[in-house]
């Protein structure tokens, strides 16, 4: 559904993406995880036609993003990191503009708007100006706007950044619901728990290079199942173990203070790159 081969992006002297190759399957929820500045947004911008690639190739549902730009754009919806809605306009008007941009006929447009606002509980806000909506409702609106033209692929660039925990969970539920309807989802995030909870597969990206691609569980179990964080001279050092018993045995021998927990994606990222995601 999404195929990327040896993708490179260079800005002046800065090599932002280095030979990125990925394949996202149809109907998959795929997370692209990395720290700020790793190249996540640049990848999405190239795939959605906002940024030119320097070399390499990328296809969306078989359409090349540079050579068949308009056809490739029709395959996807994009939820940008910034909430880029017309705040003076109403929910209905924002959705209408998107429908017109994707050449949807009037009848289909109206029907789709009604379906989508019902889908996310925005029906009573249809004629309300966007400036009067809460942050969570604005984010939901950006998601349904991207779904207006029923895209096969949905790109979400840090969709829950800046939202509180309860709203974030509602957005996650919405994303699961969208995926169940058959949409392929490509999600960038630097929230470990978001990638762990939502994604079927995760790609780690660091300094423009994809360092690992696998299911969250497989990436985690490369380290072990249990971790002990040791406090050593104002520094935290983690040790990983296959079983809880091994970890406990190790912990009993320690004189420094420690904490005991399950291994997560952050540990997997740390051991591959030597740095934390956040």
């Amino acid at each position: 559904m999404i195929r990327i081969e040896k993708l490179n992006k260079v800005y002046g002297h800065s090599h932002v993406l280095k030979d990125v190759s990925l394949h996202v399957r149809e109907g998959e929820m795929f997370a692209y995880l990395g720290p700020n500045g790793a190249g996540k947004t640049t990848t999405i911008r190239i795939l959605t036609g906002l940024t030119r690639l320097s070399s390499g190739d990328a296809w969306l549902n078989g359409f090349h993003v540079e050579r068949e730009t308009l056809a490739a754009k029709r395959q996807c919806g994009v939820v940008f990191q910034a909430i880029n809605l017309d705040s003076e306009l109403t929910v209905f008007e924002n959705l209408t503009i998107h429908g017109l941009l994707f050449h949807m006929p009037l009848k289909e447009r109206k029907q789709r708007i009604n379906e989508l606002v019902d889908y996310v509980g925005l029906s009573d806000k249809l004629n309300v100006a966007v400036s009067r909506l809460s942050g969570g409702l604005k984010r939901r609106l950006t998601i349904i706007r991207a779904l207006m033209h029923s895209p096969r692929i949905l790109f979400l660039d840090e969709p829950t950044v800046g939202l509180d925990a309860s709203i974030r969970r509602r957005i996650w539920a919405l994303m699961k619901k969208i995926q169940k309807n058959g949409t392929t989802i490509f999600l960038t995030t630097h929230y470990i728990e978001e990638a762990e909870f939502l994604a079927e597969r995760v790609a780690f990206i660091d300094e423009g290079r994809v360092v690992a691609v696998d299911s969250p569980q497989a990436l985690i179990s490369r380290q072990g199942e249990w971790a002990i964080d040791l406090m050593m001279n104002d520094n935290i050092r983690s040790r990983y173990f296959r079983t809880k018993e091994e970890a406990k045995q190790y912990a009993e021998q320690q004189e420094d203070s420690f904490s005991f927990r399950r291994v997560n994606l952050e540990d997997a990222f740390l051991s591959l790159t030597g740095k934390k995601v956040k």
Partner: protein, 245 residues
């Protein structure tokens, strides 16, 4: 091509939201010019057999339609650099020409609104000139087309809102004062007239003024405006891709 309607529709929705504020702001400067230059200073002045007020109104029509058409560039910049709404257009399957056409028509619509306000103010001051002359409206349209296309192209090329403001200060504002708006260009030295005739606004002022006085129009001015407008429009279509990084 039909993507242009989405872009134009958005501009019209924004215009509807800000309609009263926009009308009020469009009326302030022309009203002050009419009071200061037309009513107070120009009371006893006649130019080519017309009162100064009659002379001033077509100049203000040219200047205001230029300014208001050009403002579309600032609107695009704000939506591009601050609200990131431009990304929504970039991600949509619409061609460059559709985008430029939609925004250019948005600028032209604003320009026509501002002309309507000046005509209203002119009537308020008791000035009756030939507003029904079709060539008056053709010249207004071409003038708006020139500056709206220029603004859209500029908005795609600049890297910040400040760059656009600088262009306004160094190019648009001097043109507003020198392009035959407030005084007849024929009163300047010949060398200066030659330079000023290179400005599209001078041709717009001359054409609008001739049409509103019922004088024969110089088709050369219309050709210049149409040609300049087309060149700016095509450049704008070309440079939309520059907004991709």
């Amino acid at each position: 091509m039909n993507g242009f309607f989405a872009v134009y529709y958005r501009e019209m929705m924004i215009l509807r939201c800000r309609f009263l504020k926009m009308i009020a702001s469009m009326a302030v400067s022309p009203f002050l010019y009419l009071i200061a230059f037309g009513y107070a200073m120009g009371k006893s002045v006649t130019i080519h057999g017309h009162t100064y007020m009659e002379f001033l109104i077509p100049g203000l029509v040219a200047m205001s339609s230029m300014n208001r058409a050009f403002v579309i560039g600032s609107e695009i910049n704000i939506s591009r650099f601050y609200w990131h709404i431009f990304e929504e257009f970039q991600a949509a399957p619409i061609s460059n020409i559709s985008y430029v056409l939609g925004e250019t028509l948005g600028g032209i619509t604003r320009a026509f609104l501002s002309v309507g306000i000046i005509i209203g103010l002119g009537l308020l001051f008791g000035v009756m000139i030939d507003y029904w002359n079709i060539m008056f409206w053709v010249a207004v349209f071409l003038n708006s087309f020139v500056f709206s296309s220029l603004a859209v192209g500029m908005a795609m090329m600049v890297r910040s809102h400040a760059d656009q403001a600088m262009f306004t200060n160094f190019v648009i504002t001097p043109m507003a004062f020198l392009g035959g708006t407030f005084f007849p260009v024929s009163r300047l030295p010949v060398w200066a007239q030659k330079i000023i005739l290179l400005l599209p606004l001078t041709h717009a002022s001359n054409a609008i003024r001739a049409a509103s006085f019922g004088n024969p129009v110089d088709m050369f001015s219309y050709v210049i405006l149409l040609g300049t407008g087309l060149v700016f429009f095509l450049i704008a279509v070309k440079v939309v891709s520059m907004a991709r990084d």
